[in-house]
């Protein structure tokens, strides 16, 4: 099959959230000895970008957004090891450590953000829910993260976001990371008040925020 044609199918599979098809096409691309980095960039990325646009237009709802990002992740899981094998050095767009702060067991929103970031080419380290603040920093140091993302659903646990920033300051690590916050009770005002680097209203907005903070915005 022609390269351009297979790229269109890949993009289509992502837009339609067809995980099996996305995986099948990724395997086919490897059999055809296509450059996996180019496959991601020209085949799959336009798909997930389109998904983001459809979400922003209000045409796509969460089930479409999530199934598409899951399809994207599945395809990437096939292609990324090949890129590593070929030692091209993965063009990772940045590393994000993400989790729901301690005392809070809610993780639906955080999962959606993590999934969307991953699907958009960021390396995501999802620590889960009810995560000790120290754990965020430990992980961020270990993987040399660019961004720490903190989720909270309860007004009683939101304070954990503030405390993490304070903790980073105490450890003199604040300058090393961009800290972003989210969750139902969280507002842009709160983010500003606690000295966070950013807040996003939803998962697609979170991708834009991370791109903006890291200066890695893709051409549309």
């Amino acid at each position: 099959m022609e390269k351009e044609k297979i790229f269109v199918l890949m993009s289509q599979a992502i837009i339609e959230g067809q995980q099996e098809e996305a995986v099948r096409l990724a395997r086919e691309a490897l059999e055809l000895k296509l450059d996996p980095a180019e496959v991601i960039e020209k085949g799959y990325v336009p798909g997930i970008q389109k998904v983001g646009e459809l979400w922003e237009k209000g045409e796509y709802f969460l089930p479409e957004l999530i199934s598409s990002s899951e399809a994207m992740k599945a395809a990437m899981a096939i292609l990324e090891p090949e890129i590593k094998k070929q030692d091209q050095g993965l063009r990772a767009r940045g590393k994000v450590v993400i989790g729901t702060v301690e005392g809070d067991i809610h993780d639906i929103g955080k999962n959606i953000v993590a999934s969307m970031l991953q699907a958009s080419g960021f390396e995501v380290f999802d620590l889960g829910a009810d995560v000790k603040l120290e754990k965020f920093i430990e992980k961020a140091e270990e993987v040399k993260a660019d961004i720490i993302g903190l989720s909270a659903l309860l007004t009683t646990t939101m304070i954990g976001q503030k405390r993490l920033i304070e903790l980073l300051q105490q450890l003199e690590l604040r300058e090393r990371y961009k800290v972003i916050v989210g969750g139902a009770p969280v507002t842009a005002r709160w983010a500003k008040d606690i000295g966070a680097d950013g807040y996003a209203e939803n998962a697609v907005a979170a991708v834009h925020l991370v791109e903006q903070l890291l200066g890695t915005k893709r051409e549309r």
Binding site: G58, I108, G109, I112, T155, N202
Partner: protein, 488 residues
């Protein structure tokens, strides 16, 4: 005379009700429920439930669930603070109460949401006491001006101080129960009297899917042992924490509630349980939980129908809105919910006063919602045949053109047949203009101010007030609060 028909809506076929219950029982047996609380797990294991490999998943045999269902009372009587007036919770009785534990307050002056403070909580509690169609009080706001560690007991303290109505409450901290129980005992005089005359309902929410947390399972056990009803608040979100289909969500809802019921009945056989919930249609665009969605109400109505089939008193979160201010949407969603709850015969209906999902309370909305509740209650009284014959005698007595307005029959029956809700504008256009062209929110604001200024607080007898206050002061000082934000 023909007895009146009570208007009633059943939303599920009897066949589907049984199918849902059966599948819920299978779910509990095969998939089980995650129980974080050690004491609850021990009770369950001793009663024959299997504990999974990981030590926290519990598999409930259907026979255990059924035997616990038989122990639970079909009806409950709650008593007011004075222990005099009794409220039947069961059958098709409907009691409204304000939606509880709001974390925001709609400030009538700024029309913005802000964190509630003690003064707001006292006003809301006093207003609830004064409103005729709200039978129960609730610990309605989480005040931001006291340490979070004492927020549970502080909310109850304010409710018991400023209102005589039975109170719907709950715990956000495991440690809160003891002091809350001490307060309830202080009002009743003894533990035995508290058990004989329940004063508070404790809401306990499982975490969907199929999990009872340490905190909530403990609340079930604690409430059961002092004879206070636990309200089981399963809250699946369609497509997010439970299946997208209404029937799928109902199966999970029933399973979660039944697991809670089993814990209650094992902790204290015969302890009162209310089959409740706050399930919601999950908005797949914004990730929000619209309580005003018609599908949310359909799930509530169906759950209540199933609860009744199981022989339990019922509860739902209805009569609230997702609007952010008191506007058209606020009225329509609240009214849909209150009417449908009444038509479904749901015993405890929590919601009035609430806006913005379950997050916000408003004094003005609560006052307007009381009129909505009043109309819903009027509706379910049904149409009563008052006399025999019903119209013929007017004409026999007064000929072709009877004077209805002047007839004693009119004076005799008009207040039973027709209810008046002063907050609703039924006057002429000219009168409305003359009164300053005020919309309902403006009128409500003035009426709230007038009511609170003209009525004195409904305080308990001095000895009880003192005891409650000393309990609260002691608790507050444990968490570094030397004086409360107000003095009783």
């Amino acid at each position: 005379m023909i007895p009146p028909v009570r208007p009633k809506v059943n939303i599920l076929s009897q066949e589907l009700v049984h199918k849902i219950i059966d599948e819920a029982l299978i779910l509990l047996e095969r998939i089980g429920v995650f129980v974080e609380n050690e004491e609850a797990r021990t009770l369950l294991a001793e009663a024959g439930a299997k504990i999974g490999q990981n030590g926290q998943r519990v598999y409930l045999p259907p026979d255990l669930v059924k035997s616990c269902l038989e122990k639970a009372p079909r009806t409950i009587h709650l008593y007011d603070r004075e222990g005099k007036r009794a409220f039947l919770v069961g059958g098709d009785e409907v009691h409204f109460n304000p939606g509880s534990a709001a974390i925001n307050f709609l400030d009538a002056e700024t029309q913005s949401l802000r964190p509630p403070v003690t003064e707001d909580l006292i006003k809301l509690t006093r207003l609830t006491e004064l409103l005729p169609h709200l039978d129960f009080q609730s610990t309605s706001l989480v005040p931001s001006d006291v340490p979070q560690e004492i927020a549970d007991s502080y909310r109850l303290y304010v409710a018991l101080l400023f209102s005589s109505k039975p109170v719907v409450t709950g715990t956000f901290r495991r440690e809160s129960f003891k002091i809350m129980k001490d307060m309830l005992v202080a009002v009743r005089g003894s533990e035995a009297e508290l058990k004989a005359k329940p004063l508070a309902i404790f809401d306990a929410c499982p975490s969907p899917p199929l999990k009872w947390s340490d905190l909530t399972a403990q609340s079930l056990i604690d409430a059961a042992r002092c004879g206070q009803p636990s309200e089981l608040i399963s809250m699946g979100l369609t497509g997010a924490t439970s299946p997208i289909t209404i029937t799928g969500t109902l199966v999970q809802h029933v399973a979660e509630n039944l697991a809670g019921l089993v814990i209650v009945e094992l902790a204290e056989p015969g302890a009162p349980v209310i089959f409740g919930g706050s399930p919601s249609s999950f908005d797949l665009r914004y990730g929000t939980t619209p309580m005003g969605a018609i599908e949310t109400m359909m799930i509530d109505m169906a759950a209540a129908q199933i609860g009744k089939e199981l022989g339990l008193p019922t509860h739902a979160y209805m009569g609230l809105s997702d609007a952010k201010i008191i506007d058209y949407q606020a009225g329509l969603e609240t009214s849909n919910g209150a009417l449908l709850a009444a038509l479904a015969g749901i015993n405890v209906v929590s919601g009035p006063g609430m806006l913005a999902f379950e997050s916000t309370q408003s004094l003005e909305k609560l006052l307007i919602d009381d009129a909505i509740c009043g109309q819903a209650l009027r509706l379910i009284e049904g149409i009563v045949q008052r006399d025999e014959p019903m119209a013929l005698f007017f004409f026999e007595q007064q000929g072709e053109w009877p004077n209805f307005l002047a007839h004693p029959h009119t004076r005799k029956w008009h207040r039973q047949e027709h209810r008046y809700f002063p907050i609703l504008d039924r006057n002429t256009y000219e009168a409305w203009v003359a009164a300053g062209r005020k919309d309902i929110a403006q009128r409500a604001k003035e009426e709230v101010r007038r009511l609170l200024a003209s009525c004195s607080p409904s305080l308990p007898p001095l000895d009880i007030l003192k005891e409650l206050t000393s309990l609260m002061n002691r608790e507050a000082s444990l968490f570094g609060l030397e004086s409360l934000p107000f003095s009783a």
